[in-house]
Symmetry: C4
Subunit: 340 residues, 4 copies
Amino acid sequence: MNLEKPKWPDGKKCAAMLTINLNAELFWLQIDPSCKDMPKTLSLGQYGMTRGVDRILSILKERGIKATFFTPGWVAEQYPDKLKKIKEEGHEIASLAYKHENMALLTEEEQEEAMKKGIEAIQNVCGVTPVGFRAPEGELTLDTLRIAKKYGMHYSSNLCDDDRPYQKDLENGETLLEIPIHWDNYDLPYFAFNYHPAFPKGQGRIANYTGVINNWKDEFYGCYEYGLCYVLQLDPAAIGAPGRIGLLEELLDYIDEFDSVWWTSGEEMYQGNTNEKRKERKMHALTNALKIINAFFANIVPIGDILWTFPQNFSWYANIPIIGSIPFAIYLLLGMGIYF
Amino acid sequence: MNLEKPKWPDGKKCAAMLTINLNAELFWLQIDPSCKDMPKTLSLGQYGMTRGVDRILSILKERGIKATFFTPGWVAEQYPDKLKKIKEEGHEIASLAYKHENMALLTEEEQEEAMKKGIEAIQNVCGVTPVGFRAPEGELTLDTLRIAKKYGMHYSSNLCDDDRPYQKDLENGETLLEIPIHWDNYDLPYFAFNYHPAFPKGQGRIANYTGVINNWKDEFYGCYEYGLCYVLQLDPAAIGAPGRIGLLEELLDYIDEFDSVWWTSGEEMYQGNTNEKRKERKMHALTNALKIINAFFANIVPIGDILWTFPQNFSWYANIPIIGSIPFAIYLLLGMGIYF
Amino acid sequence: MNLEKPKWPDGKKCAAMLTINLNAELFWLQIDPSCKDMPKTLSLGQYGMTRGVDRILSILKERGIKATFFTPGWVAEQYPDKLKKIKEEGHEIASLAYKHENMALLTEEEQEEAMKKGIEAIQNVCGVTPVGFRAPEGELTLDTLRIAKKYGMHYSSNLCDDDRPYQKDLENGETLLEIPIHWDNYDLPYFAFNYHPAFPKGQGRIANYTGVINNWKDEFYGCYEYGLCYVLQLDPAAIGAPGRIGLLEELLDYIDEFDSVWWTSGEEMYQGNTNEKRKERKMHALTNALKIINAFFANIVPIGDILWTFPQNFSWYANIPIIGSIPFAIYLLLGMGIYF
Amino acid sequence: MNLEKPKWPDGKKCAAMLTINLNAELFWLQIDPSCKDMPKTLSLGQYGMTRGVDRILSILKERGIKATFFTPGWVAEQYPDKLKKIKEEGHEIASLAYKHENMALLTEEEQEEAMKKGIEAIQNVCGVTPVGFRAPEGELTLDTLRIAKKYGMHYSSNLCDDDRPYQKDLENGETLLEIPIHWDNYDLPYFAFNYHPAFPKGQGRIANYTGVINNWKDEFYGCYEYGLCYVLQLDPAAIGAPGRIGLLEELLDYIDEFDSVWWTSGEEMYQGNTNEKRKERKMHALTNALKIINAFFANIVPIGDILWTFPQNFSWYANIPIIGSIPFAIYLLLGMGIYF
């Protein structure tokens, strides 16, 4: 799938994923653990859970978009109702480790512990097993990805070296699906602010909202033109402010203007990258080709009702057509000529 | 009052509060105490008192808006004339501790001392006792809020975990009204600048004025749409510059375009959150409901002049209606059906 | 002159001053003295002298504006030709100490030394004695201002506590005319950038040019509306870039749209603040009043040619009117009634 | 060539150079060598090589622009295919040392080593010998430039003290052609971002794309108006993002609107600055003058076909005209009168 022009399901022109990082107060506690006694600083992160999440959910519901929520296990435990609500509204719950650990600074054992506890907390609170992993703001090592794989993660969404999913070589004979992200398409680095502990460290100004939405639109536009996978990262404490939630709406409105965008989640992206799904997708491409050919020949060789059906599981799943006529066999060959 | 759609007095759609922090030179002295011998750095803060305050007052007077001025006791003592003027023009004076202390770094005793001295200075200079408290730029602990309560403060305006007032649990069986604030709606983080001592520490650029006013408008717009409480924080040294005072005017013009905004102060917000006031507000909602029903039935059962009156104390206070007719009793029941 | 609405010569509505700081490579050497062996970093400041100054001079010449160039003595010695050219084109040369010293960190003796050497270098290179002083980017103490006065400086342009000139109390029974400045109206903090040594320290982004020019316009507009003194600070290394010099032109075009702006230099501002000049200005106001009254009565009591003349020294200097008629005496009394 | 209005080949009004720095992951490794085990941080730089370079190349090909790619030897060795592709598409390969060393921190011997290895790697991978040198982000000393000259570099592109090429005095009796650069015209300082290791150090916000493209346009416009040499610096990891590559296209479209821009590379610029080329250019100016004169006299003294030809080597090379008529001799004298 790591082609210059990746092929998306149903012939879509580009893919789009909305990922939400439920950093909550852990973002601040990671910067300075002494924040634990500072209600003001904690409140900056808590805001995301008390107000931000609901605003995001309501917008997603209205538009029927399924997102991927990465949560540290600890946050799931602290805010079980919010997590259950997210689950109930049909979104994917993925793992953001346990307590927002900077994985690159941990030993292998500590990393395993964080991974395990993070997954278990999600299982306990939401009753689902996450299949995707993102490392908290900090860093990760190749070990982190190997551990993620070992604990059942089917994809990682951490690296920045591409703009479409690819199989990351774990240098142990295995690979893991990587869904790359980019700082530009993340709200926190533009908006997070506090005096003590200082963030950003140099106390740079909160970004101009108009500038940020324009950057995001430019990045989506580029992804669309190049047929890539646009992955937005949001923290409810940043995007959830009354004046910023509108940026999300504006961005979704903008994306709506483009035909042929495949809205997906990490899980669906993974499913679309299993061997089985890749085969299905090839068949689907075939049936699509046949539909076109059939429409073309319809005037010449009328065949009445078309003989295949398309039960759809997620947004892009197509069964093998049930074939039952001679002309069809001709179309089939023609179709293969076009597509392969 | 901590509902998803809070109810504001007189059925207003949202609340708006203008709060001014008289940091004066203390902002710089807190960053680096050696500034005390550096007239240039001190002058950055003094500007707010010599020029900025008057500009803000003149705009507020013109528009009939009452604001809340948070002042450190020390600033009240240094600039008694400005403080008296603020008081005389009908604004609320609230406490910003004594000498802009970072409350989180003080012992409980030191915090009490700062709280007491801050309140006394306001009493001495302005002849009023403040009922609201904001901690200087730094941080606070739960102790700070408990001490504020102990020293007679009826509300705090410090935390960032909500966008409407709520009763903060002090974890000692008591609560304190919290009127939350947000960094986005504060001028200092966008505009303050100096080389030595460096602020911002990383020496980021002074923000684009147009970008800032747009952020503020977006935040107000969001507060309005969601029916929240918009709280702007201003430092006269930042907003008071000749080229920035116009941003305040532009923002107020913008807010004026919206119907149904409840301009309030911290004190009024508190008064609207006492038990007594909450009861009054319920009765008021009732009479409003009745008015609507009455207008509806007026064609069918004419009852002449309506029998209640609305003496108004602040901007939102309503007496219990004097009832005197049978049809009225019917309306009453209907009204209760609508509102409860 | 420290009134809410200061009175400017010739009844002008506001004052405007262009001040240029010839920091040259000293800006970088002050940040990190080891730059002396780093040609790339030095080249950032040298650019201002090799290219920037000429571009500024050419614009000022075209528009007939006289500016004030603050120069460290060392820069005058290093770039004597540029300094002579500045002098020859009629601009004021003022002092920026000797080698861009942070005055607040020096002993009184060291400060005197820097002051003396700075003045002497200007005398040697340009043949003029500066009468104004600005401390390099760093800081100053009250001692610095006392030393400036002692060494013949008639004004300082360092503090930020007002937006019009005022007599600064030196707390030794003396005062010194202060022409305040503001960070917002300075190009360096918006544009200076380097990796090693890092500037700004936090490596914040070079500002959006459009945002900067808009801030400057807003500040001028405010100064105009309030009748203040707009003081722009420029470093030729910042404004002198091919793409930024246009910002200066755009700003000057903008200011040109406003009637009644008094373009002045530090020296002229000082001259307008001597006791003698203040008296003259009062008389000038009087004659202006009389002109208006005369025009008004002209139809009733024609008095032929008006009897006074206005030899003008700088841009605002007016002689005492020569009075010669009875009706004039009446006008005089009426005029005094209006103006005092 | 260091004139206020430099003369460009073919009478072009200004020069424009596109230079690309292939920093790849070395940018991050220089900030913090421990990144070598952090795949996320490395991926930020790798993105430039995996995706960014191809996007740039495709745009340059479409428009027929030849750029100069500065590469550390190590990057050439790591990404030989990309480097070969760059070479094959006709761009210049120049040296960015070996492993992105901060030259100012090395001993002379270490600098020589870095220079040598950098050049050799390019020779081995691309089969060409670079003639231009840029020091990695860090700094350089005069020694660096002397070493560059010693190892066969014909030009340096490092300093910021001018906005047109000039002969830099190496203070050892030699000079080296310097093609100056400016931070404003570089994408990295606007866009690079990471949490750990932090870049920018103060974590300032990613710049507004619209603001950046406007700065670049303003700088080009100024260079055009003043007839200077516009040098853009790009890092494929910054400009190569799907939403930023459009900025390059927008800038090139903007430049296309201007007539008479000389698109050049470092190598061509150097060739235009050899003594031989300077002589040729004078002759070329002469022939141009003659053409004008000839056109003017054509009606009076028709001379049939013009007798000279212009074989062109690079974009600006002109042979000495073959002269064969009396009137021509007159024109020649007239032409010399005009041009010299």
